[in-house]
């Protein structure tokens, strides 16, 4: 019984991580609490499905639908990232969380209707990526290979993000802005450019999460609200702004939910929030968050 | 003179850094004690421990017979110990008068949901505290708009409005031009003397120490290495050397 629980927990964790990682990155870099995060997640899913279906309709190789997953995330990021940051978010910097929440909530509401107008209200799906890889048998239970591969993909995303932030010049630039925007400005870094780039990258991560999840989850109205709230829970548990934290939190929530489904189904739904409540009570900064103390 | 505050065997460490190492120090009633020492020697830490911002690892601070180390800053404040800060801590969006009104209300009965803060008795006290430091002119200015020197004065005025028995001031003149510093200190020390408030102040400027302190305690690496009259202490060459790096 333990094997399927762990496997299900891991694959759930992979999805949760992909939902949350963009949110936590954007908060870490821009200190922006992005309620519209779920909208970008959903747009990524819609775009991936639409592109995949087009590829299918054009008679292109089905394997191309894997490429469509990444391409669609790039498209969504290129289309919405700079636009949102320049037009809406920039005006809120330094005006506190309340203005940010208002702006991002506004964007969330608008994008919800945009989605409806563009993609309609019927669920959309393209499970070519899911079925192409076939299935495997683990511990007597059949799983789609894609679902297992997603765990690997999540790990890859986590480590490439870590490598990007710590190992590349661009990443270090971003981190220096996180660390001390004032200082960065003095040392000649164009923080405005970094902000656009970082937010666009965050949108890319959100959309990538949606597109990678889409073969399993499909895309349907209501998806953005769900994604936003889960992303918040996972990011808060791990420590807002901490990529590794999001990974750890996704693992805990994913495994917790899997165990709940087996042993306490009444609580599976409340699991992320109960974990969040419990963690924040004892570590308000989240599992891997850092406390900022004030000097007198 | 009677002791009013007594620190016994205080020990504070942040990670591996010792910020207070077996500190024993007594503050006497009605005196003005200056704390001097180089940067990082533990002066502010001492103030922080005495006012409850930091809990000591070992040792105790007594205010009269009350042990302070387990108390919150607010409880210590209510015992009659007030504090002014190195970086002025004001309510930036309130006017100067409103800042002082809050201090006056805090002393006289804060928890009255339906009695206006601008009651005459609070107003009178707030104005009085402003008057002590010559701040009447900026009463209706927002705290955020004040110059650094005035902010320092308002910060001290708020501490004064609490009518404490003991006042800690952490570098009252840092960040202020030396001309301004003299004016500030003259006003503050005069007011304190008139009100009869025991004062402990952390100071870098030896001139200020020489002028206003009754007694000096010299800090080095978390220890009190010397204490006594300003004249004797400030002329000791060894001590001058040890605090030379600070000014």
């Amino acid at each position: 019984m333990l094997t399927p629980i762990v496997i299900d927990g891991l694959s759930d964790a992979a999805l949760l991580f992909l939902v949350a990682v963009g949110l936590t990155m954007v908060f870490g870099v821009l200190r922006v609490v992005n309620i519209a995060h779920g909208s970008f997640f959903a747009l990524g899913a819609y775009a991936a499905i639409t592109l995949g279906l087009w590829a299918g309709a054009l008679g292109l190789s089905q394997a191309l639908s894997y490429g469509a997953l990444v391409l669609s995330a790039l498209l969504v990021a290129a289309l919405f990232g700079p636009l949102t940051e320049r037009l809406c978010l920039r005006a809120t910097y330094g005006r506190g969380e309340i203005a940010q929440m208002l702006v991002t909530f506004g964007i969330f509401l608008i994008l919800d209707d945009v989605q409806k107008l563009v993609f309609g209200v019927q669920e959309r799906q393209n499970d070519a990526p899911l079925s192409l890889l076939g299935v495997c048998n683990l511990g007597g239970i059949v799983y789609p290979v894609y679902q297992i591969a997603l765990v690997g993909l999540a790990v890859v995303v986590a480590f490439s993000l870590r490598w990007f932030l710590r190992g590349t010049r661009a990443g270090k630039l971003v981190l220096s802005v996180v660390h001390d925007a004032e200082m960065a400005r003095f040392s000649g870094i164009d923080t405005a450019k970094v902000s656009v780039a970082a937010f666009t990258f965050g949108v890319f991560l959100a959309a990538l999460g949606g597109s990678l999840a889409s073969p399993i989850t499909g895309a349907a109205p209501g998806m953005s609200a769900e994604a936003t709230i889960l992303a918040f829970a996972v990011a808060a548990i791990g420590g807002l702004g901490r990529v590794e934290g999001a990974g750890l939190a996704a693992l805990i929530v994913g495994l917790g939910r899997a165990f709940a489904v087996y042993y306490a189904p009444a609580f599976d739904r409340a699991t992320p929030y109960l974990v969040m409540f419990a963690v924040l009570l004892f570590r308000p900064q989240g599992l891997l968050g850092v406390v900022e103390t004030r000097r007198l | 003179m009677k002791p009013i505050l007594k620190a016994e065997d205080l020990q504070v460490a942040f990670g591996g850094v010792i910020a207070a190492d077996r500190v024993n120090l007594t503050v006497l009633a009605d005196e003005v004690l200056a704390i001097v020492g180089s940067n990082g020697s533990g002066k502010t830490t001492f103030v922080n421990v005495c006012t409850g911002y930091i809990k000591p690892r070992r040792g105790e601070v007594y205010f009269g017979n009350t042990a302070l180390s387990r108390l919150h800053p607010r409880a210590i404040t209510r015992l009659g110990i007030a504090r002014a800060f190195q970086i002025p801590q004001l309510f930036a969006e309130h006017t100067v008068l409103e800042n002082l009104l809050l201090a006056a209300a805090a002393r006289r009965g804060f928890w009255r949901p339906f009695s206006a803060i601008s009651r005459p008795c609070y107003l009178e006290e707030a104005r009085e505290a402003l008057g002590l430091l010559g701040l009447e002119g900026c009463a209706s200015q927002r705290a955020a708009q004040l110059s650094e020197g005035t902010r320092k004065l308002v910060d001290i005025a708020m501490a004064l409005a609490l009518r404490p028995r003991l006042l800690f001031m952490d570098e009252p003149t840092s960040g202020v031009s030396s001309d301004e510093a003299i004016v500030i200190m003259e006003a503050v020390m005069g007011a304190l003397a008139r009100a009869g408030i025991t004062t402990v102040f952390v100071e870098h400027d030896m001139e200020m120490v020489r002028r206003y302190a009754h007694r000096v305690a010299v800090w080095e690496s978390g220890r009190v290495v010397a204490q006594g009259q300003p004249h004797g202490i400030l002329h000791d060459s060894q001590i001058r050397e040890s605090i030379a790096g600070m000014a």
Binding site: M1, P4, I5, I7, D8, G9, S11, D12, L15, D112, D113, K116, G120, V121, Q122, E123, Q125, D127, L130, S131, G134, V135, G140, I141, V142, Y143, P144, Q147, A213, I216, T217, G218, A220, P221, G222, M223, E226, R257, A258, V261, Y262, P265, D268, R269 | -
Partner: protein, 440 residues
Amino acid sequence: MQHYSRKTASLAGVLFGLVFGLLPQAAWGAGERPAQLKVGVFTFVSGPAASYGMPAKNAADLMFESLNAGGGLAGVRLEPVFVDEAQGTDAVVSEFRRLVTSRHVPVMIAALSSANCLALAPVAEQLKTPMIAWNCDTHHLFLKKKYRYVFRANTSTVPEFVAYAAYLLQKKADVSRVGIIDPDYAFGHDAAVIFSETLRRFRPDSKLVVELYPRLGSPSYSTEISRLLAAHPAVIFTNFWGADLENFVRQALPRKLFSQSLAVIALGTTVFEEFGQRFPQGAVVGVLGDGWYHSPAVRANPQAQRFIKNYQERFHQVPVFPAFKMANAVLVVEAAYRRALRENKGQWPDSERLARALEGLRVKTLTGPLTLRADHDGLTDQIVGVSRNVAGSPYPVMADMVRYPGELVTPPVDADPIQWIKTLPADYLERLPKPGSYGP
């Protein structure tokens, strides 16, 4: 303090503006024949439930157009006024009130969600405005409360899910080990009780080995599917719908869940088109009523055929059963007006007369007969069958169909439904028509 009063003044301006902007725009001349008949139509056009609400909205558009093309109601044009149920219960109630009092809408087709039906029914009663529930099927609606103005143009959860259980029992399927996975709300919980109680009435050995209620709108059912696979039930019952159903089926298909167990996918017909021939074969499916677009009754009905043709042409989809439920509800409104006009010698009915005309109304709908019973609940037949791919069709059809007459699967007026199930006569199953007896 000066600025406070200036602020208050400006706020007062805003308030005044808002308040007068919201004032009713026209006076109401009651009694005489109106220039047009407005009909409030409550459905989901956004949010997750829109996948059901939108086909219904489309259907309503078509039905009103065709009614108007045929001269309207005794020369009066009909005009639908749509309300999005996704705005939340308070807004839905508010819109209902606004439509009645400010826009003089005399009759409502409301609502899709059970929560909204339950919330709107007392409002309809208070405003004395006839309300025709078109999709909500909670059997609690008429269980304890008696309404004068509230009617339901479709059936409740009880006949709907008794039918699936009866179908399994008649087919002598192995129901010893049953697994249930339903959405986590009243519809799912009620269906689970009704389905399993009916099985147990005739097969006391039938055991529930796993019972799962994942939250509405779950993106992934992986863990639940693993649990179902591990529990090896002989029958898996689900009344998922919309995106949840698509997700569940898509995620369960490659994992062979439906080849391991016999699946009862109650609302499966709604996703036939999405899945095409990949839809699990031999799964028990149905339409929660008789709204199957390919049933013999529908094929024999030229009006229904026109409706389907128009629907497919305009929306490039087949009309799933929520579309039929809405279309039939529009027909109920039409029939009620015609009856009221007839019984009042052509005088335009007020809401009271309209409500009386709805009492005991019998309507020949697009999909079969519908009766509004004494408790105002709708009585229609239940069509159940199994999914089967046939040559020449891109998606499965319902095979082995049965059409259970409404009065056989519906508890009598005022009966406690669970008690009624528990005391069904021993020969009940024999009295029902047999699977495969309906249609080709």
